[in-house]
């Protein structure tokens, strides 16, 4: 029936190596998040600008990023662009793919948050003598960030998990890549993947917790 004996002690020997990989995973996730946030703010600005071309560009980006698999986006960055002689290393391709995906989702989060803030807020600010930029900067933006905060944390967790798709483009330094290689060598699939899953879980938890603490400081009344 069940014919599998666990070799935990052998698998655990690889833990330091896997933790090194976890650092790379975290690095890619954080970088992709920072780049994604910057791009998302730019996309949101494009949409708000009223300029048709900029708005169309932003909408196209969001549509593609949200409605195609992240795996394709990463594969495209490596092998797709490779067809045209543009060579992104596995690390860059992974980062580009996730940042592209992040930007799309985050821009939608920002849009949703903006919609949740009634126009009367801006009008109240204007009636107090603020300029429209001031009203946006001091009244709308803080509220938008507050509303968007939880969805942004979600996206951060998603970004961490998306890094595992790097194995398809030859990424071998992150947690998924290292786990995959350890597995290919010994085929102790269950042990290695279980350890990796625990590490992913802990990273995701730590990031969520960090975000909560940050939110508690930032959004105090």
């Amino acid at each position: 029936m069940f014919s599998y004996t666990f070799h935990w002690n052998q698998a655990l020997k690889a833990l330091p190596q896997m933790l090194d990989g976890a650092l790379v995973t975290l690095q890619v996730a954080l970088l992709s998040m920072v780049i994604g946030l910057a791009l998302a703010l730019a996309l949101t600005a494009c949409r708000l600008s009223g300029n048709r071309i900029l708005g169309g560009f932003a909408t196209a980006w969001v549509e593609i990023a949200r409605n195609t698999p992240a795996l394709f986006q990463i594969y495209m960055a490596h092998f797709g662009l490779g067809n045209f002689g543009i060579h992104l290393s596995p690390y860059t391709a992974l980062l580009a793919g996730i940042a592209f995906n992040n930007a799309g989702y985050l821009a939608e989060n920002f849009r949703g948050a903006l919609k949740a803030i009634p126009d009367t807020q801006t009008r109240a600010g204007r009636s107090l003598g603020m300029t429209s930029v001031q009203a946006f900067r001091y009244i709308v933006l803080p509220q938008m960030l507050r509303i968007a905060f939880l969805p942004v944390t979600n996206q951060m967790v998603w970004a961490i998990l998306m890094t595992s798709l790097g194995v398809t483009v030859g990424m071998n330094t992150d947690l998924a890549g290292i786990t995959q290689e350890l597995n290919a060598r010994s085929f102790r699939t269950f042990e290695f993947f279980a350890i990796a899953a625990v590490i992913y879980y802990l990273i995701a938890k730590a990031v969520t917790l960090g975000a909560r603490l940050l939110a508690a400081r930032m959004f105090r009344y």
């Binding site: 092998f79 067809n83 002689g85 030859g170 290689e181 060598r185």
Partner: protein, 268 residues
Amino acid sequence: MKTSVLALGLVAAAALTSQAHADKLDDVIGSGTLRCAVVLDFPPMGSRDENNNPIGFDVDYCNDLAKALGVTAEIVETPFPERIPALMSGRVDVGVASTSDTLERAKTVGMTIPYFAFEMAVTANDKSGVKSFEDMKGKVVGATAGTFEAIALEKQVKEWGAGEFRPYQTQADVFLALSQGQIDATVSTSTVAQANIKGGKFAGISVVGKAPFDTDYVALFTNREEYGFVNFLNLFINQQVRTGRYAELYEKWVGGELPDLTAKGVYR
């Protein structure tokens, strides 16, 4: 009370099933089907013809094995990294998948005596300037994750202390990356290198020489504890050579000088 009854029932059921459970050899003969894990992006060992049917040395070898067992063969397409997981999860009975018989793997599955042997060749992108194995030093190289040659090449790159190694998921991805110039060179079995260049799908690459890695002996594998089945498989491999079928299949799919499946000085 209830849980203990349930537990007792489960134990009884397990005891019954394990009593009725014959070994894998009996299971396969009884079921009338032999499910083989075969890698189908690894010509000439395994690939697909124009009608998408599986063909290749490993496919024929699985068919021969099924014939010897008196059952029908079922080819289960399995990418390299999934060969042993496919066995462990019960999706296949045996791996006929050019699997290197490393000791590390033998801790998990039961390996037979070698049924095939590969030599390693260096294939390079024509623009890379790589003309030999030594030229690979400092270059970006790649191979299929987890294969014998990937493990050896990665170790070599670390020893050189220069360049970069990239593992890809499939052999096709490796040659795609190579022909795109994403990597400068790869080490693969010479059979695969020749077949991929002959296939014409990948432009601008050529075989530039041999890699000084050990001969890669590959084995059939099944569950570690299935001594009866392993025993049958070993005899089958022996018979394939004795009857000349091995030579026949080698000529059909590879051609050239037949590799020796024995290591001098030891019996296996």
